[in-house]
């Protein structure tokens, strides 16, 4: 009982203390400053973390951009080089008015050469790929649009195939139209009357055209045989040069 009473007395007197006894010092402000520093900077740290994350992302984006930028240029250069090599190896090539302007300023005639000329003649002009042709992979790249609207546009073959198959792009002839009233059309038709000689001339002209086409086809076939070193025999078998 006595010990319990004593314990209670000690407990009450110690826990009831509100001020520091003499001989004890407590630097309250220093402890609070430390606490404040650890309690407040949470927001600052958070902001700092976000800032750092954003900086790192920017850095990564910039590095990725810089890494991939030169590769595209190299591929474009390779594409141009491949075009030049094909031009030098007597292959028919795509010609554009822009290319003619760049490399042959004297040549004011902007028409595209005929297919016959392409097949037989050597190209004497260094040819560049038109600027509007955009493509990385040569096999997949297609001619989507040429800058000048007169040049034919609907080509969906890969560039290499175009080059191999001797396909050329022809400039479309300018068609001129006249605005007429519907009633006028009938009158015009009725007024046009062809004579027999004129009809004969027309038929002859068409026949000549057909003959020209046939000769062109033969010429292209001969060129193909020369290019691929294959000679067609009469039996239908193919023979190489070695044979």
């Amino acid at each position: 009982m006595k010990t319990e009473k004593q314990n209670n007395f000690i407990k009450e007197s110690v826990t009831g203390l509100q001020k520091l006894p003499t001989g004890f010092t407590f630097n309250s402000t220093a402890v609070w400053q430390q606490l404040e520093n650890e309690l407040q900077p949470k927001h600052k740290r958070r902001w700092f973390v976000f800032f750092m994350a954003a900086a790192v992302l920017l850095l990564i984006a910039a590095s990725v951009f810089l890494l991939f930028q030169p590769k595209n240029n190299i591929k474009q250069q390779q594409l141009q080089a491949s075009n030049l090599s094909t031009a030098n190896s007597n292959k028919p090539t795509i010609k554009s008015n822009k290319a003619e302007k760049n490399f042959n300023s004297n040549n004011t005639n902007k028409t595209i050469e005929t297919t016959k000329k392409h097949v037989t003649d050597k190209p004497d002009i260094e040819i560049k790929k038109p600027d509007s042709i955009i493509g990385i992979d040569e096999n997949k790249a297609t001619v989507l649009q040429l800058q000048e609207p007169n040049i034919s546009t609907n080509i969906t073959m890969p560039i290499n195939n175009i080059l191999k198959n001797n396909v050329t792009i022809q400039k479309q002839k300018v068609q001129r139209f006249k605005i007429m009233h519907l009633n006028e059309i009938d009158n015009n038709i009725t007024t046009v009357q062809l004579t027999k000689t004129e009809i004969k001339q027309l038929t002859e002209f068409q026949q000549n055209l057909q003959i020209e086409k046939q000769t062109q086809q033969q010429a292209t076939e001969n060129v193909k045989q020369i290019l691929f070193f294959k000679i067609k025999t009469t039996n239908g078998n193919t023979l190489t040069d070695n044979q």
């Binding site: 004593q6 203390l17 006894p21 407590f26 309250s28 402890v31 606490l35």
Partner: protein, 183 residues
């Protein structure tokens, strides 16, 4: 400001409310820490750590009464002190002796004031002081003390008796010193 309102503000992480709470309980909790620890610097360090735990743990704390909140604060501080003591002192090294019967001085209440009792408790060695604080002031049982300090129940009892004996000796010495001082 009422304590409940203050705690609500502290839960919103208002720095002014936290400062207000600190100012209100800093000295009281410092005295708790100083009872267990040897130096003022150690006590300040533990007080700092304890307040950090209080502010972080306040979000989970459900206020019921002022007394419950103060008890919670005390408990956090005592646990912090015990953790620090366990790190720095190996209580297993304390020898287990049989508890002695101590003659209790009945006049102790008349002789000592609160400041003197507090000062004398802080003069006890760490082992005695810890057990004495836990048993007499915090109201722990010997089993609870044994678990908290990782010692046996017998060691706790013997440490308490030794602490009492030493405290009595300190009171006598202090009394004689006071008498001499008065003369």
């Amino acid at each position: 400001m009422e304590l409940q309102q203050l705690l609500k503000e502290c839960k919103k992480q208002s720095i002014t409310a936290q400062k207000y709470l600190y100012d209100r309980f800093a000295v009281q909790l410092y005295l708790v820490c100083r009872r267990y620890l040897k130096t003022n610097e150690q006590a300040e360090e533990i007080l700092h750590n304890g307040f950090l735990k209080i502010f972080t743990g306040l979000l989970q704390f459900n206020y019921t009464t002022d007394a419950a909140f103060i008890a919670w604060l005390n408990k956090i501080m005592i646990n912090e002190c015990l953790m620090d003591l366990r790190k720095k002192n190996n209580f297993l090294l304390v020898t287990e002796d049989e508890a002695e019967n101590i003659i209790v001085d009945e006049l102790i209440e008349n002789k000592l004031n609160a400041d003197t009792i507090y000062t004398l408790i802080t003069q006890l060695p760490i082992g005695y002081r810890t057990v004495f604080n836990l048993y007499c002031i915090e109201g722990y049982s010997h089993n609870e003390i044994a678990i908290a300090l990782n010692i046996s129940g017998g060691t706790s009892k013997s440490q308490l008796n030794k602490a009492r004996k030493m405290l009595q000796q300190l009171i006598v010495n202090n009394e004689s010193y006071e008498n001499r001082k008065a003369k």
